[in-house]
Amino acid sequence: GAGVSQTPSNKVTEKGKYVELRCDPISGHTALYWYRQSLGQGPEFLIYFQGTGAADDSGLPNDRFFAVRPEGSVSTLKIQRTERGDSAVYLCASSLGAWGRDTGELFFGEGSRLTVL
């Protein structure tokens, strides 16, 4: 597609449920990032993929959060046993490559708004 696509755009779930959020990056972009944004705050880094591997997952808040990118394209962010504090907008972004290989500009999707009741 022309841009980064994220689905679903909105997800409402109950506390304790499992959630998957999907990101389809721009074709040819090897780097993929997940961020979380709470109301009135800047995006908070979660995890970064270079190709299929997670190059940096230092931003994942705990082991309930996990992300995969099995074929180096689409990525799925998985949240187990959701808590009310997980409610936020989850943003995905892609870029041509890691820093040093391109301009470093990220292209963002519109986000997935997660609400945990």
Binding site: E44, F45, G59, L91, W99, F108
Partner: protein
């Protein structure tokens, strides 16, 4: 964690006025980027300034960088109502882009 801090947190101006937003960061950088976010939307890249540059222009945008003070400013000239959005600065920490807290700009017609 947030790498940068924007100032002011919120700014309200009239159409035609200039808007200035400031960003301070903590570590040494190779470049600094500014992004814009309309309410409920994703972020859009505006401009990138490298550490060896002091000033850069793009249309009505002017960005300055002072690496000795670890600060940058974004100036939007002749603002329009459509400029209403949140503006974020961002810098790289190893391979991850870290964003500041943002300035919410409101431009009144």
């Amino acid at each position: 964690s947030q790498q940068g801090e924007e100032d002011p947190q919120a700014l309200s101006i009239q159409e035609g006025e200039n808007a200035t937003m400031n960003c301070s960061y903590k570590t040494s950088i190779n470049n600094l980027q500014w992004y814009r976010q309309n309410s409920g939307r994703g972020l859009v890249h505006l401009i990138l300034i490298r550490s060896n540059e002091r000033e850069k222009h793009s249309g009505r945008l002017r960005v300055t960088l002072d690496t000795s003070k670890k600060s940058s400013s974004l100036l939007i000239t002749a603002s329009r109502a459509a400029d209403t959005a949140s503006y974020f600065c961002a810098t790289y920490n190893t391979d991850k882009l870290i964003f500041g807290t943002g300035t919410r700009l409101q431009v009144f017609p």
